[in-house]
Symmetry: C2
């Protein structure tokens, strides 16, 4: 999710019916770039190792080039990193997201935002059907 003031957008890029890229995968890729491993990335963003690994696996399947490279050679440091393609794919996704947020601006958006009532939400019992 990208948030800019009163706007929150989620952008998914589909490969057929499957989400090849989206907010969750972008979050995982950012965290792997920071932390250098899939398990550390998961801990950083409060996602289970299993779920984090599945998103990485999905990324590597749904793109023509590998997005994340993992290292587990005997004797070598274990870990994971974005490939050059993965870095470029993530950057491009973020650029498209930023362009969409910018496109939302306008008098009509200002009009809408001016008519919202922050803090007015509260629970009430559900009445009979109408």
């Amino acid at each position: 999710m990208a948030i800019a003031g009163p706007l929150k957008i989620s952008l998914q890029l589909l490969a057929g019916d499957e989400p090849a890229m989206g907010p969750g995968k972008a979050l995982v890729l950012d965290a792997i770039a920071r932390s250098g491993s899939i398990s550390a990335a998961g801990r950083d963003i409060g996602m289970s190792y299993r779920r984090t690994w599945q998103l990485v696996d999905s990324l590597n399947r749904l793109w023509a080039e590998r997005v994340v490279e993992t290292h587990h050679r005997a004797g070598a440091k274990r870990g994971a990193e974005l490939t050059p393609f993965g870095q470029r794919m993530l950057t491009t996704y973020r650029e498209i997201e930023a362009r969409m947020l910018a496109a939302a601006a306008g008098d009509d958006l200002d009009w809408l935002v001016g008519l919202t009532r922050p803090g007015a939400e509260s629970a009430e019992p559900v009445p009979r059907e109408v």
Copy 2:
């Protein structure tokens, strides 16, 4: 969710921390406009009456003007309809959504889409931590 080819976007408009408008509420408003009642709208979109009613209640609280008017006078037809403000709010939301989808277009998006592999997703066991 708005879908255009390989793009799927979700746009939320926040009132403070609360979503004053988003894909679910837009769906409910479309269905009320079509069906003339909250219960029929819920059935149309496969949403429980309780959940549909709560989204309508949230809309009426989080906007400065009422979005949906309900009728339950004795002897009169029961039902619900969008107010003129609700209609205009929904239309404006859809216009902003369309503008954002249009803004996504570009050589970089074409490049990304050309590198996805539809149908390549499949489950695989999760290996040891890397």
